[in-house]
């Protein structure tokens, strides 16, 4: 089948088997992706990518589901400002994942941040009602709704996706909370 998709901002038109897993497609076309995914289907979690903004294990996504999709591997994600927030949080906490799982853990953290962000936005919009959206109102709504709370239980569950145990959950919790803070600050500055 002919597959047309966007990988890390570049448009690709490929002829592939319809059931070919995305990780194999990426291995053949993104050279640096080859070292990420080595489990051959044993759920190591290292092949995680963002498909249309949602985290997914590329070994579980067949080619026929990818027509028109926008795929971001860690190499592409590294260039975004969202990745810089997470890298800044790594530096502030003084701990970071080992080189082998660095890409996958960073993308899982990004997916947790997206999820929490979405939940909080929903909660805040519920509290805000018909008030105008000033920064002060947003701050007040945030504190009333308990937004920004990320539990270590949730982090442990999400991180179970990556089999490498190189970093403590307590450190991950600090990293995620810091990265979320940086992201919220940027958003507040913009608004």
């Amino acid at each position: 089948m002919r597959l047309t998709c966007n990988i890390n901002g570049s448009q690709y038109s490929l002829v592939v088997n319809s059931d070919k897993p995305l990780n194999q497609i990426l291995k053949e076309h993104i050279i640096s992706f080859a070292e990420n995914s080595q489990c051959m289907g044993a759920s190591c979690g290292n092949c995680i990518v963002l498909i249309n903004g949602n985290a997914a294990l590329s070994c579980l996504v067949p080619a026929f589901k990818l027509n028109g999709a926008s795929i971001l591997t860690f190499e592409g994600f590294q260039k975004t400002r969202f990745c810089h927030d997470i890298e800044r949080a790594y530096a502030d906490v003084g701990n970071q994942p080992c080189p082998q799982c660095y890409p996958s853990k960073t993308i899982i953290i990004e997916s947790i941040l997206n999820k929490v962000d979405k939940e909080n936005q929903n909660r805040i919009s519920g509290f805000r009602g018909d008030q105008t959206s000033s920064a002060a109102n947003e701050q007040a709504a945030r504190s009333r709704s308990g937004a920004g709370a990320i539990s270590s239980e949730m982090i442990a569950r999400e991180m179970a996706m990556s089999s490498c145990q190189c970093i403590e959950v307590s450190d991950l919790e600090k990293i995620i909370n810091l990265a979320y803070k940086y992201r919220s600050r940027r958003r507040a500055r913009r608004s």
């Binding site: 592939v16 088997n17 059931d19 897993p21 995680i48 579980l60 996504v61 589901k65 997916s111 179970a160």
Partner: protein
């Protein structure tokens, strides 16, 4: 494209009838829901004997969720995460936690309700949980006449855990009871990951109520993911004879019965340790129920 490897034809029906028609014309093709289980098999790709695919993701009817007073009706293509999001307002805490324990959100976003119930030879958490709750499934038979019927989820499997309608039916909807006025108590336990460690994992579900100092209307389901799906009316009757306080002798008698039942039900080469874990799990749950009852 590797030489000699055929690219499977992918059918993308828009309605259930169209999917059935595709299946009738291509009997070897298989229905494809989320694909998480199929693609995680070690021999999935490259495989020279790959079957054609009927992708169900384009069928809108299968992605709907409907909530009535006494049940929640979800299409087979509803993802576990969607069910969880919807269920956070409806399900009991125990049921919510049981569903939330399935993988991480990355997996739950992709895995579908229908897919997790219809894997041919492996049982996962949803099968056990929904069978215990006496959920109903609508299956559409693969035949020229448009026939469908509702059956309990527990009747989808044989004792060894094989899916009975693998190639002759399409699961379209699942109806999960959510009656808030019900006195039923639901308990779910999962030991180990059924996906990553099927030969050691144990799935356990028990629903019961307490009436006049004894256990009433119990419904027990135990699944050993790759070897057994155990649900027995006889055993439920045995559980309903339990009155409080439950003595150690009674628990021992019940667990011995379960062990002997499981030994008969399991596939060959099943690890005895897995059976032992299931039995101990039942003992633990009965002790907990006893403790809770005595604590008032």
């Amino acid at each position: 494209m590797p030489e000699g490897l055929r690219s499977p034809t992918v059918f993308t029906p828009k309605t259930v009838s169209e999917a059935i028609s595709n299946k009738l014309k291509n009997s070897d093709a298989r229905f494809w829901a989320g694909g998480t289980y199929i693609m995680s098999r070690p021999n999935f790709y490259p495989n020279p004997n790959q079957r054609d695919i009927i992708a169900l993701s384009g069928i809108q009817d299968l992605s709907r969720i409907y909530h009535a007073d006494r049940y929640l009706e979800a299409g087979a293509m509803v993802t576990i995460q969607q069910l969880l999001t919807m269920g956070s307002f409806i399900f009991s805490k125990e049921l919510y936690n049981a569903i939330n324990s399935i993988g991480s959100s990355v997996i739950r976003n992709q895995a579908t309700l229908g897919g997790s119930l219809c894997t041919s030879d492996m049982r996962f958490t949803m099968s056990c949980v929904l069978s215990t709750l006496n959920a109903q499934a609508e299956i559409r038979m693969v035949s020229r006449a448009a026939s469908s019927r509702w059956i309990p989820v527990s009747k989808l499997y044989d004792r060894k855990g094989n899916f009975l309608f693998a190639d002759n039916a399409l699961l379209t909807k699942i109806r999960i009871p959510t009656d808030a006025t019900s006195q039923n108590i639901f308990i779910s336990r999962t030991l180990d990951s059924p996906m990553l460690n099927p030969s050691e994992a144990v799935l356990f579900g028990l629903q019961y109520s307490i009436q006049q100092g004894s256990i009433a209307t119990p419904s027990l389901c135990i699944a050993l993911p790759s070897s057994c799906f155990y649900m027995s009316q006889d055993f439920d009757n045995l559980l309903s004879t339990i009155s409080f306080p439950i003595t150690a002798d009674k628990i021992q008698k019940i667990s011995r019965r379960l062990a002997s039942d499981l030994r008969v039900s399991v596939r060959q080469n099943t690890d005895q340790l897995q059976i032992e874990r299931a039995v101990r799990l039942l003992e633990q749950v009965l002790n907990e129920i006893n403790m809770n009852y005595l604590a008032g």
